[in-house]
Each structure stands twice: as structure tokens, then as C-alpha cells.
Symmetry: C2
């Protein structure tokens, strides 16, 4: 009745994402997923053999989506400042539609490390290629020999942490939802500026060299 525009399997996966993203593996209940999908528990096991299998499907989609976009952005031929801006925009957009995904990924890695190995291999991330690319670009744009790993980690930290820590920071500062949304919006321009300023500062400095 609630529409068969999607197949049952698609409805299940969608419901499973909603529940697993918010509660993680241990906190999620098969019953809740079934309710969310408008079916019963038995049917979950008919399509996906076990909770474990269903969770893996959900994790795979989330992980590949996140790393896929990050890979595309960082390996593109935009200037560094533009890359950072795009990367930030992506994570902030994700927050606005589903703020639980970054936490979900981390959570899965902490609580179910074994489950992840195969999926990591499939992502084809090739970190050495990324590092070489960034190092070359930093040298070209800023004439600096800054360690690309630390620089990459700084970008990730400044982009992702404010998204993950949202509920903590909102509570500490007593910020309503809209106020925090606005802060993240500001960061789309503030963070690239912050990093670009730091890179300029290295021109006369010799730290962070490999």
C-alpha cells in the first residue's frame, strides 16, 4: 500500500540504513527495521540471511559513498583551496540530510573491525597515489615541502570533526539546530581560508617538513 515503486529489497535496505545509521549494530533491532519497512521480521531474513549480512550491506554503501567522493575531489585537478571547499560542502550537505553517517562509519570500525576488512579492500583507495599527488600540488601552488599526510589529516579533521561532534557542541553552547547549521555554513569559506593562510605562513618557516 505504501507504494511498490520500490522493490521489497530496496525498501528493506532503505529502512535498515535509517535504523543502523542512527543506532549502530548493537543498538539496532530487526523488529524496528521491519516496522520501518512496513513488513515483518521473517521477510528480513528471507532477503538478507542475518542481521550481520544486512549490516554489511548498509556499511558498504555508506563507506563507498563517502570515500568515493573524497577520492574524486582530492585527485581532481582543482587548486587546493577549491578542493577543500568542495570537500567541506559535501560533508556539510550530508549533515543536513543525514547527520549520523560519519558517526556510523567510525562506530562500525570501533565495534566491528572484523566486518570491515573486505570492504576496505574493495574501496581501492591507493593512499600513496593520493599523497604523491598532494605533495606535488602543494609544492607547485605554495612552493612548500610540507608533509602531505599531516596536511591531508588536517583537512579531514577540520571538515569532519565539527560534523561528528555536532550534538556535543550544541549541548555545550546551548545552540539550537539552525544556529549550528549556520556555523557549518560559515566554515565552508572559513576553513579553506584558514588552511590557505597556514600554507602561506610556511613559506618562511621550516616546520612540518618530512
Amino acid at each position: 500500500m505504501t507504494s511498490s515503486l520500490q522493490s521489497t529489497e530496496e525498501r528493506i535496505l532503505k529502512a535498515a540504513k535509517k535504523v543502523f545509521h542512527r543506532k549502530g549494530f548493537e543498538g539496532a533491532r530487526m523488529q524496528e527495521i521491519a516496522d520501518e519497512a512496513g513488513i515483518n521480521k521473517a521477510l528480513l531474513h528471507y532477503y538478507f540471511r542475518s542481521k550481520e549480512n544486512l549490516f554489511e550491506a548498509v556499511f558498504r554503501d555508506a563507506f563507498l559513498e563517502l570515500t568515493g567522493y573524497a577520492k574524486t575531489v582530492f585527485l581532481s585537478d582543482n587548486p587546493i583551496k577549491e578542493k577543500i571547499h568542495k570537500f567541506l560542502g559535501y560533508y556539510i550537505a550530508i549533515l543536513n540530510e543525514n547527520s549520523y553517517i560519519p558517526w556510523f562509519i567510525l562506530n562500525a570500525i570501533y565495534t566491528r573491525p572484523g566486518t570491515m576488512k573486505a570492504i576496505f579492500d574493495n574501496a581501492e583507495l591507493n593512499p600513496p597515489e593520493l599523497m604523491a599527488h598532494l605533495q606535488h600540488q602543494i609544492k607547485t601552488e605554495y612552493g612548500s615541502e610540507i608533509n602531505p599526510f599531516h596536511m591531508w589529516l588536517n583537512v579531514l579533521s577540520l571538515s569532519i570533526f565539527p560534523v561528528i561532534a555536532k550534538p556535543l557542541i550544541r549541548e555545550i553552547f546551548q545552540l539550537p539546530e539552525d544556529a549550528y547549521k549556520q556555523i557549518l555554513e560559515q566554515r565552508k569559506t572559513e576553513v579553506p581560508q584558514f588552511i590557505a593562510n597556514a600554507l602561506k605562513g610556511y613559506e618562511q618557516s621550516d616546520s612540518m617538513i618530512e
Copy 2:
């Protein structure tokens, strides 16, 4: 037999921390805590009435310890660069002895937001005081009107994210435990330098102004 240097209540709390920190509320088992403490489940309920109560005690200790130190450091009268260095050193030290605590805090806030309210109030964080203090200090040391909230969030991001994301990054780069430990050690000097350079860069810039 295993020593009564600690009271039973202390042994229970210590065991509960070990288990809850690593597995969160949903993943932890009262049986495992009892085993870890060398007693049986019934005694857990004798001292702490429920799993919920025991978890609250564990969360309270972790939260107050983390925010307490951060408060002390940020409100001290050290120069900014020194504050950041100390803050980093603290989080990296925590990682070396118990890397799960930052994740545990976030996890608790995501999965059990209701439990936290009372504890937040007890922490007496006083964010406006902190922001005013930082704003004044930044102006004095760097002659800059940079938004102190974004600056504070940048420091937290650069310090805490690499600790929380450790298992993810280790997997992506295939880094052994020791290599990551070394990277974090490097960041104790790299991050303060990075931020100081960015602050210098703002002297001729006008972004990030409130």
C-alpha cells in the same frame, strides 16, 4: 584473593570503565563487567542498581575528566601556542593509555542523549567566558579579530579527530600501531605550528572576522 587494596565498589567501577569504554552501553554486558571485576552479576546490582546507573557513573567520570582538563588549559594564562601544545599532549597521552575514551564520549551522546543532560549541567563549562578569554588573547598576541569560536573548534578538530579516527586511518594507510603513535607524536609540534602560521596569515587578511 586478587587483592583487596581496592574496595569492591572501586573494583566494579574500574571494570565497568574498561568494558563500557570499549563497547559502549549497548555492546557492554553485565556478565563481562562482573568477570572483569572478579565477582558475579548479582553484586553489580547490589552496588549499582542497574546497568543504566553504572553507565552513568562511568560516563560522568570520563566527561568531567576530559572537560576539566580542557577548561584548565584554555583558561590558563599561557600563550596560545603553548595552550595548544598542552591540549594536544593531553589527548595523545590519553590515546596511549586508553584510546577509546573520546569515542566513548561521542558514542554516549549519540545513543543516550537523555542520560547526559544532568551531567552537562554539572560540568560548569561556561562557554561565554571561554570565548571572551580567547578573543582577548588572540587580539593581544596576533592583533587579530578572528572569530574565537571557529578558532576553538579548529583546535579541537585538529587535536581530537586524529585520535578518534585512528582505527580508520590505520586501516586506510595500513599503518602498524607504532607508526601511528609516532605520527601523533609529530603532531604535538606540527599542529601548534600550523595554527600559529594560520594566525600570522590573518594579519593581512580579513576573513574569519566575526
